[in-house]
């Protein structure tokens, strides 16, 4: 693994201050949920690089992209890059969503959509049924990227303001599909989105006895396991009794039963 400079090929405006930052390859083979640390080559306004799931990757690795919502100076600098400018990429980092579950129900909130495009492509390449994806946002613009899933996923959408799809939270969508039997008992849920949304999804899954895996977004300094700053409180065999886990090397994907909430 290395830190490499990649040339920006394009920055696609997806609306709602979200962008797809597309870079030239070679982009290494990356599993859904793995991430990269990004910073611009010049005029990087902050110090630390920022972690992003790989959003998309050409089958031959000649192109890759990151789904980025401009929320602060670092993310803004990344999406303000012009084609031909360069960004530093370190990765792929972290542990992906487990490949052992065949047909997971993916629940995404906002730019939490990012890890699921690779998964949708994997399923298509393996001639499996399209990815099941529930995608929620505050409003229509926050459903940035959904067009990229056309032909790759069975999608249901929700917005808090009712401007697109179901009027309500993505958890309402999840519960409705469970009630109607569209999601089978024993289904496994993969989830990525803002913390409150993931907590809500985790609660539904717990109540409905569904296994649920979350891709966490935490503050990170390094991304490769040396700063010990991204730790989350955990429990369970995987951690051999240690109460904290580094999101960058052991995560960012955790099963909900592995996460402890008493520590906060």
């Amino acid at each position: 693994m290395q830190t490499r400079l990649h040339t920006v090929a394009a920055v696609r405006d997806l609306g709602g201050d979200s962008y797809a930052l597309e870079v030239d390859g070679p982009v290494p083979v990356t599993r859904p949920g793995q991430f990269y640390m990004l910073r611009t080559e010049h005029r990087w306004p902050v110090m630390l690089p920022r972690p992003f799931s790989l959003y998309d990757r050409a089958a031959d690795g000649s192109r890759g992209s990151f789904l980025i919502k401009a929320v602060g100076p670092g993310t803004r600098a990344l999406v303000d890059q012009k084609p031909g400018e360069r960004v530093h990429l370190t990765g792929p980092l972290g542990q992906p969503f487990s490949a052992e579950f065949d047909d997971p129900v993916c629940v995404a909130g906002g730019v939490g959509l990012a890890p699921f495009l690779l998964l949708a492509r994997e399923r298509k390449a393996a001639a499996k049924s399209p990815l099941r994806l529930l995608f929620g946002g505050r409003n229509r613009p926050s459903l940035a990227g959904m067009e990229d899933f056309e032909g790759l996923a069975r999608m249901s959408m929700s917005t808090d303001d009712g401007s697109f799809g179901l009027h309500g939270r993505v958890t309402a969508l999840l519960e409705a599909q469970l009630d109607r039997g569209e999601i089978e008992k024993g289904a496994v849920v993969f989830c990525c989105g803002p913390d409150p949304m993931m907590e809500a999804v985790a609660k539904v899954c717990e109540r409905r006895s569904l296994r649920c895996f979350l891709s966490l977004e935490t503050y990170m300094a390094c991304g490769y396991g040396v700063c010990n700053g991204c730790s989350v409180a955990v429990q369970g065999e995987r951690f051999k009794g240690w109460p904290y886990s580094k999101t960058c090397t052991e995560g960012p994907v955790y099963e909900t039963c592995e996460l402890r909430h008493d520590a906060h």
Partner: protein, 341 residues
Amino acid sequence: MAEPSGSDSLRTSLGSLQLANPVLSASGTFGSGWEGRDFSPLSRVGALVSKTVTVRPRHGNPPPRLAETPSGMLNSIGLENKGADYFLAETLPRMRTLCRRIIINIGGEAVDEFVELAERFCEAGVDALEVNLSCPNVQEGRLLFSTEARMCERAVTAVKRVATVPVFAKLSPNVTDVTAIARAAEQGGADGITAINTLIGMAVDWRRRRPVLGRGIGGLSGPAIKPVALRMVHEISRAVRIPVIGVGGARTAEDVLEFVCAGARAVQVGTAAFVDPAVLVSIVEELARLLAAAKTTITELCGSLQAPIPVAPQPAVAPISFAPQPAVAPRPGPAGQAEGR
């Protein structure tokens, strides 16, 4: 002097410890080096310094443990580590495969813990010990071993009594007069001073009316602290006769040479390794180019800082002493003999 050639210009020494170059990892910012082994050939680094090892495992502080600040960051890790047994069995053997020079940073809450760790690591065969007297994220931030001269001297004396390798005392900047603590470490027999650890700081989330960090306070590192580190390295290097290892915000070869000029015999690079995992080796390569272009060597440059203007002593502040004019490096000798001062 003879034209410096290639890698010879980078050589330096810390007491009896000879280093191929002055670039070291900083404790707690590069794990054991193992985590970063894929990014660059770490055999090129002057020495790898481990994250602090304690006698027993330490789980560390509750998250959040990080906050980025202008040109720097706050951390409140709390010396999370799996303890000496694990380190000796699992980590040290791997660390040895990475680099010729291994320095183990040891941390304790009492003198006997420092002594136990020193004994065990010397027995295991390491190149030097760095005694972490100054982590701000444990002991409720009391920093006893690096804020009270007598405590500092006691700890260093006890470690030196059992140590068979050079011992460096890592000091805190969170004191009124760092030279007093440095002199105490020297008095205790330290073979070198590492300065500085992080500055105690805080980040506030006013909307939640809470500190950003889970523990409230943390240690500030990164380029933001480089001027403080340079000043303290310079003061210490004038106050003691043992070598000083500079640390605090260095992220480029230019930064490293600034520390060397100010009096450091070696320089640790810490927070910069979070940004670029290959930075240590990049700096080593750039250092050789810079020294060749300036026709100088680390040994010659070390401590050669000249006073820009005469400094009048200020009341209640220890005056900074500078090397005598004109530009005559006061201390360099042939590499490898400097420690005989």
